[in-house]
Each structure stands twice: as C-alpha cells, then as structure tokens.
Amino acid sequence: MSSSTSLFEVRNLEKHYPINRGLFNTEVGRVRAVDGISFSVERGETIGIVGESGCGKSTAATSMIRLEEPTAGEIDFRGEDITEYDEKELRRFRREVQMIFQDPDSSFNPRMNIGNAVAEPLIVQGFDDEQRRRAIVGDLLERVGLSADDMNRFPHEFSGGQKQRIALARALAVNPSLLVADEPVSALDVSIQSEVLRLIDRFQDELGLAVVVISHDLGVVQEICDRVAVMYLGEFVEVGPTEELFTDPQHPYTRALLSAIPTPDPTERGLGVELTGDVPEPSDPPSGCRFHTRCPEVIPPEGIDLAQDTWRSVLHLRKQVIADQVDLESIAEVGAIEAGDEFGSMDEVEAEDIDNDRLIGWVRQEYELPNQLGDTSAEQTLSQALEELVSGQQEAAAETLTERFETVCERQDPETRSLSPDHRVACHLTDDSVVGSTDSENEYRRQLSSPE
C-alpha cells in the first residue's frame, strides 16, 4: 500500500495491445500505446497531459480509470490499488471518478432526454428516489448555465457548447472527486471553449475536484492546469509545473510543441521548430530516446563537430541507406535533367552510366549535404560510405555509416531526471555526463540553452 497522501497516483502504467496473426492467433507484436507513465494528482489540482495524435494520451486516460484494463502498473486511489478491484468495488470507484469526452454529439443518446441522461449515473449508483433525482438534475443544469426546464429536451436541441456543459453536469451528478476530461473543448469554437474551461475551473474550486485534462492544445492546458505532462509515444518526456514548463521547456519535444502554436500576433510570424513527419508507429518504437527520429537537437557522436541541420541530413541519409531506400535511378534522372544539355541526347539515364564522383555529388544534393563536411573525420566516413553506395555495396555503406555516426540518443534510453522536486525530464541533453565531453559539444550545448 502506498504511504503517500495523493488522491490519485499512477505508477508505471502500461497499456499494450497485442497484435495477433495466423491460425493459432499467436502474438506477433505489441502496440505499446502507453508504456510506463507515472504521475499523481492532488485534491483541487489540475494536471494536463499533452501530446500529438497517436501518442497514447487517450489510452492513458481510459486505462488509468480502468475503462480499459491496463497491462501493467499500479493505480492508487486514496491509497487503494484499483487494479485489484472487483466489479463491485469498481462500481463504487466510478462514483468517485467521472469522465467527459471530446465529442459532445456522440456521448449522448439522441433518443434520451437531457434529464434522463444526466440522471443516468445516479441510477447506476442506485439512487432510487426519483423526486430527489430530478431535483439534483435540475440543480446541476442550472449550475452549468442551463435551465431546469431543459430537462425534457433532447440532445439535438442544444449547441455543441451546451452539450459539453450537459456532459459536465452528468459527470458531476455523482459528486466525484476526480474528473478525467479527454479533449473537453477541442470540438468547440474558441469563444465557447473558454466558457467550458471556466466552468471546469469553477467547479474545481467549489468542489475541490481533482482534474486530469487530456489535450493536444497547449493553450488550453496553459489556461487551466497546475502541472503538465508532455507525452510522446507512450512515455512522459517532461513533467513540470505549467508556468515553468512554458517559460523554460527542457525537452526538445516540449520546445517543438510550444513553437508550433500560432501566436495571435502578425508581427511575429514563422512557426518555429517544425517537426517533420508524423509520430512513429507505437508497435515498433525507435530505439533509445523515442523522439530521436524527429528531434531537432540530436546529439552528435563524440568528436564530431557538425551544424545541427547538416548532422540531421547525415542521419537522414544513414536511415535511408540502412533501409536501402536511396533511389539512385531517380537521383540520376533528376541530376541529368538539372545538368541539361550534356544528357539531352540520352533517352533514359541509368545510374550506372554516370561516373561515380558525379553521382555522389547528386546524392549529396538530394540529401542536402554540402560537398565537403566541416568535420574532417565525418567527411572521411561519409565519402567512403557514398563511394560504397554508388558502387552497389549498400550493406557496406550502411555498416560504415552506422559505425561512425551513432548517436547516444538512439543507443540509450534517456533516464528521467528530476531538475527540481516536481520538474522531471527524460532527455540526454540534460545529462552532463553524456554531453559536454568535448569542446564542440560544450559549445553546442551552450547554443541550445540560450535560444536564438
């Protein structure tokens, strides 16, 4: 049993979905939707979980209150582990914990009037007195800014914002102590968003409610949360007090998310660090730090001194070479077109017709690599690998590149470190023993810590 006094505490929560194939339905893999997250919520506190689509935040929401069975982990509510609850205990627990969902349209039965919808949790919890039920429902509807007379109306008669308020009333019907809100306002207009957020905020004050808000919108989270957890591919990469996290983000992913928010200021255009691509498949997460495939601040290996964008290009080339996805034929074709006249007489340009040096130049162009890398030892490796690549030895090239250009970010899973008692981050950049071993890396680190 936990000795802590937290209202709700989650430790190493995991939710994996097995991928089964074949005649015997054998498990061939696992989608690691939630892969070991820990946090706690106190009474009256709001914690936000943010991340892109596909990072597992909604699965985290449903499995932390056992709407879905978690694969592993402990979930303590008032000191009791709810993962050990049976059906009956679970029902009692549901009285304390309620959830509201993103889409207010589909979370109501279109044939059930609002009064009955809001009363349903009461019925489930065995509240038999109909008179009192109606009184409670009427009171709740008034508290969320509707009228008790609306009880007999149906969901389609309300706007999206009103429906979300009714959903809030329904969640509060059983007087819970924890509210889990999964994207509560992302389907609503800005002007309605702030109304609903204000309501949640008010109830929290009045009822001492603990709230977990799941959102992809950092603005929403900034508005109402005390603490924020940033989630990427099933893991928390950074957890900290809202203000600290917004003013001094430590993880490159947090920085990237923050810089992607459009500011309502036309004098300050240009959306900062642009993350390329989408979130990788959670069934096959990248090695080491899961964010390294998209990270704009990957740490170069010891002794290699390259500008970050060149370094990224090298990594990209390496990835393509390893996957054998460098299309020399099309590179040759594009190169020939750009070179113009010289190849004008040829109908089809084949990669093998082009002399190696020239083709290497085109490959460099394609992958946005300069003709000569700034770092001599890196240049040596790269030109050797390219030489191997164009002469058809893809495997050798892959090996050459892997050997030299391996970053700590892909090799090692970063530990979660505490910067202050309630600010945790999982990134090698915050680990002095990893970075700072050479002068260039020190310099690199200094650049990172002082933005622009």
């Binding site: 968003q193 917004f246 992607a260």
Partner: protein
Amino acid sequence: MSVHTDTLLDVEDLHVYFRTDTGENVRAVDGVSFQVQPGKTTAIVGESGSGKTVTSEAITQLFPSPPGYIPEGSVTLDGQDLTEISDDEMRSVRGGKISHIFQNPQGALNPVYTVGWQIREAVMLHQDVSKTEANERAVELMTQVGIPEASTRLDDYPHEFSGGQKQRVIIAMALACEPDLLIADEPTTALDVTIQAQILNLLKELQEERDMAMLFITHDLGVVAEVADRVVVMYAGKVMERGPVMDVFQTPAHPYTRALLECLPGEGGLGGIPGQLPEPTDPPDGCRFADRCPHAVEMCTEGGQPDLYDVRNTEAHTASCVHFAPTMDPGVVLDGSERVATDGRGRTSTDAGQPSDDEEAEHR
C-alpha cells in the same frame, strides 16, 4: 462596380439565403463585401454560424441549391461575374481557376479509390492529358506537397495515410490545375498543432512559388495572424470589421473582434462571450452583436447594421460599429477595456497605433 486591376476576387454585397420549409429565409450571409488580391491571403474569421463557410461556398456556388440562393450581390473573378455564368462555365472555374480545400481530410477523399487515382482525376478533368502524363503530374504534385517517396505511394488508399498526409493529398489535388485562387476552409482545424504548423508553412511556400491567392476561412485568430494579409471578421452573416492584418491585431476595433481575441487561451480572459448568436431567420434591428456587446448604446439597436467606418482614419481598416462614426468617440471601445493591443501574450501597450520597438520576442 469598378474592378481594380489589383483585385483578383471582388465580393460585393453578397447575400446568401436558405429558404426553409415554412417559407422563411435563413439569412446565412447578409451583405458581405471583401476583396482578394492576386498572390495575397485574405482570411475570414468568425465563430460557427457566422456564415464564413457559406460565404466561401457561394463564390463557386457549392452550397445546396435549392434551398440556398443568392438574392443579391456579385462575385467577380478577373472581371467575370460568377453569379451570372452558366453551370458549365462554373464547372470549369471550380478546380480550374478556383480550388477548395476543406476541414476534414478524411471526408474529402474517396475511401475506395487510391490517392493516385483521385489526383489523376483532378488533373484529367481539366487538362487534356494522357493517363501516363497525369500519373507523372500526380507524382510531381505529391512531391511538391511533401509526401516522401511519392511514386510508391500512388497506389495507396486514403486510410493508409495519416491525417496530415491526407490534408497534403487534398492540397495536391487542389493545386492540380494551377488555380489562381485557393479557398481553404478550416484546413488545419482537424490537425495537431505540430501538423498544423507543417501545413500552414506548406501553404505559404506553395503560395509564394505559384503567386497564388488564398481565401482562408478559420475560427482561430492565431492562424489568421500567421497567414493573412487582410482580415475580414464575420458575425451572424455580416462583416464586423475588416482591414490589413497588422491594423486589425494592433487596434482591434469592433467589440466583437476584441471579445474574440480575449477568448484565446493564454489571454487570461476565461470569460467567453456571453449570450448567443441572433436568430438567422429574423435578425434584430441595428448591430447584430448589440445584445452581447459590452459597449452597446441605444442607437446600436436601431436601423440596420452600422456602416463600416474608418478606424483611426485609415481607409483600409474599417469597423461596423457606431462608436467609430465621425461624430462618435471611438475611445469608448478602444480605451474602455484595459486591453488596447497586445502582443498575443496578454501584455498591453498603451498606445495601440505605435507599437513600441522594444516589444521583442519572448521565447514561449
């Protein structure tokens, strides 16, 4: 009606009504005028139900008709009035000169055809090319919109793409015929912030490359600040304020614009705008926003929607609010609240017309 040489699209006093079964008219768009300049972006911003989407659909008459019809107004593209041309002519304008992209990328793609087929269709409908050429063009377009290994993805079905990539495919289709004007209706609302940033940057790049004009429909003022050259703020089928993006954000004039800005998360004003949109079948007299407006006076509820008066004597920036009429004192609105102009982080500068130089970027 004069068409300036520097105007690509001129929407003049546009009305779009929908006739209901009971014979009433829903006045979705009720007298809207704005222009789009070649190579520039005009953004229409407003809440759900403000008529912004219907306005954009009216340009190429995409709204269902009946019950929808245009009782008044004109839409002029390159000197040609689009409200008067035949259906055949309109069909060549759609996708040819004007392309649309929509909010929900899933809904805009046919799930049973490959994306290659769908892009090819867009190309072949408007250009006399062979299937092979259309195929090449499809690959080219997909590469331009940033889909990696485009040639191998041609035979994939929409469900094999992520939401952001689907939106890229839609953009590729929209660009197939090199349109002069791209109408983007909430193109990033269904996407994550990071993907939204990618798509916005892509649209800006493509716009620059092709010198294409954009009409951008959104409810997000943050996005407006990011992409627009000119802004049109709509409410209940009427234009509340319009002007160059700098002016509108520096000196938001109409009380509605100011209320919208204050709703933005991070602005501290968790108030929302009290009240509801007026009934579209029977709009009230005077300013449509009057009964939700903190600065409303008696004359706000009389007559029609106020004229668009100049804000701070700049002709380009106008607001439909009686407080900006020549005999009135705009200070009631501008100084009435402590917010005069903010840099988007809730900081205020007291002189809205003159943003101080030291307002430098603070890392968020």
